[in-house]
Assembly symmetry: C2
Homo-oligomer: 350 residues x 2
């Protein structure tokens, strides 16, 4: 499936979305179409990204330029720019911030690949596979450092404070998840605390920075941050769903990793809580086993217990909450695109 | 040997130090004595360090507090504080900055231990050995993030800019070193470029920030930065020497790692350049082999070729250059302690 397109007018959630506060009429998009209006701004952010990572040393330069391959959907920089547009307009600081958030994100991807021992990232060899873990750890550190350096080049200190705070939340969330690995009694609250830290915090900050540096007042800035937080949470639920029921060829990375690493995600938490005893026992046995073909059997149970649908509904609900946060914004094309982005993050197939 | 004491009045370099510009009369110290005057300030920095790393999550809190064990000689926070004292006095920002530089340093240690697959760090199990590489990578990231967050809490953006710039240099230097691993033709210039990035940059920044936030003018601030850079370079040469000729029981970490990882350091570069052909061939054969007992044979050759002495002399020369940078400062106890610190970094046994 090319371009992760969405040609429906509703997200994949079985619940209907409310269109009262947001009317993207008919969402018909690959993500590139959705971002057409900010294509030049994304390109400008990409140039800043590349310039920042330049190095005189051939080895450092080679690795730094390789991460260009990991630029994917560019959801985070797009959210900085669209939030800016929806709140008063894109300014030069937004291009820098769009590069910064993508850099932080790619730093975490490079380190995730070390941790996951993954071979593929966006259909490309991971840094760890190609140059070894040592280089991958250091390259991730270098990307983090560049992000902070770039951030501190802005006129105001606000971005450094927010990116610092966000990076703490992000790494804390990831570490917290590692701390719960293998725990089959993980509850929904803990799951949400983890994904709020590891994913929603950065996406929320993208929207917050977009609004703040466009001159939005504190009420609107808080609403945009809440929009991003809810959208980010829905995004991670969808990511976790794709790891269970996605198509490896479409997703572009190895699947079934969460179960292999002992990480319970929302469908599994739901199934373990609500399945009738026999099925629950079967699921627990599968989770405790390490048979290579258990992935399919687990997915079958999750479909039977309607746990996939449960997670999809949760993501759909979060997207509606996100969209409601945009009510106080003027009805601009940028606001409509933010709404469409919110639909996209849960409808995507990769 | 308790306290890494130094009871000589000259560094371990065979050359004599000049005492014209700096008269620490007779350096007789374990490092703790040297830092007695700033003990309260170091304790204040340690409190800020601990407070910053607090977490509600038990797993994150456990790992964060474990790194307290890695506080070693505290050279970096001490240099922030002593530079401040020598340039006008310690202010509250200095305590924060002392915590920040220690956090950056410990983040790199935690990641180094992942890369080195080391078991011991300051006689304590490494994070990677105790909780696995996944947690160690994330804990390092978390420490970096806290350092940047803490930095951005200061009134002025100068520290964020300098710490961002320094972290880029530091990670770039480490990555550059990985890129040259196994290269037996590494030249001295490349070696110095690597250690300038990975070690001297942060130590230089410690002194720079100490001076700047004490209100020093730009001339003095530059001189302090240069002091730290030279001292940091000497420090790394000494570290590399200890990896070759140190005593594992004293150093408190596994030795011979550089050779095992294919990293050429100054004595080896010197020996490969200057040894007569037979000895050079013998050394090359040892470096290319992976016999477990080659460490002793390599050290023997390095002593025969006077390559250990060569590196000690280089470190001694750098310390004298460092000390000369303090000429324009008033003759205060803090300045004398900075001089003594410079002697200490090359005289230390661990």
């Amino acid at each position: 499936m090319a371009g992760a397109g969405l040609t429906r007018d509703a997200p994949m959630s079985p619940e209907k979305t409310t269109t009262a506060t947001c009317k993207p009429a008919r969402v018909s998009l690959p993500i590139a179409d959705l971002l057409a209006d900010i294509a030049d701004d994304l390109a400008q952010a990409a140039r800043i990204f590349r310039t920042e990572l330049r190095s005189d040393n051939p080895y450092v330069a080679e690795l730094s330029s390789y991460v260009e391959n990991f630029r994917g959907k560019q959801i985070r920089p797009a959210l900085v720019l669209l939030s800016a547009q929806a709140c008063g307009g894109i300014r030069p600081a937004h291009h820098v911030l769009a590069a910064v958030v993508e850099m932080v994100h790619i730093a975490t991807l490079v380190h995730d690949d070390v941790l996951d021992e993954a071979d593929l990232r966006r259909r490309t060899s991971t840094v760890s596979r190609r140059w070894g873990n040592e280089s991958a750890v250091l390259l991730g550190d270098l990307l983090f450092s560049h992000a902070f350096r770039l951030c501190s080049s802005l006129d105001s200190q606000f971005a450094s404070q927010e990116i610092g705070r966000t990076a703490v939340a992000l790494c804390g969330g990831e570490l917290r998840q590692v701390g719960t690995a293998g725990r089959l009694d993980l509850c929904e609250d803990e799951y949400f605390a983890i994904i709020t830290g590891k994913t929603a915090s950065l996406i929320g900050t993208c929207c917050l920075l977009g609004a703040h540096y466009a001159g939005a007042d504190s009420h609107i800035t808080r609403r945009l941050a809440a929009f991003g937080q809810s959208l980010g949470t829905a995004f991670q639920i969808t990511d976790d769903l794709l790891d269970l029921v996605g198509d490896e060829g479409v997703v572009g990375k190895s699947l079934g990793r969460d179960v292999d690493k002992g990480k319970l995600t929302l469908p599994l938490i739901h199934a373990l809580r609500s399945a009738e005893p026999g099925r629950r026992a079967e699921l627990l046995a599968l989770l405790r086993s390490d048979t290579p073909d258990r992935h399919r059997a687990i997915t079958r149970i999750l479909l039977q217990t309607e746990s996939i649908a449960y997670a999809q509904q949760a993501a759909g609900r979060l997207v509606r909450e996100a969209v409601a946060m945009l009510d106080d914004l003027p009805e601009t094309p940028a606001r409509a695109t933010l709404c469409a982005m919110a639909q996209f993050v849960i409808a995507r197939q990769r």
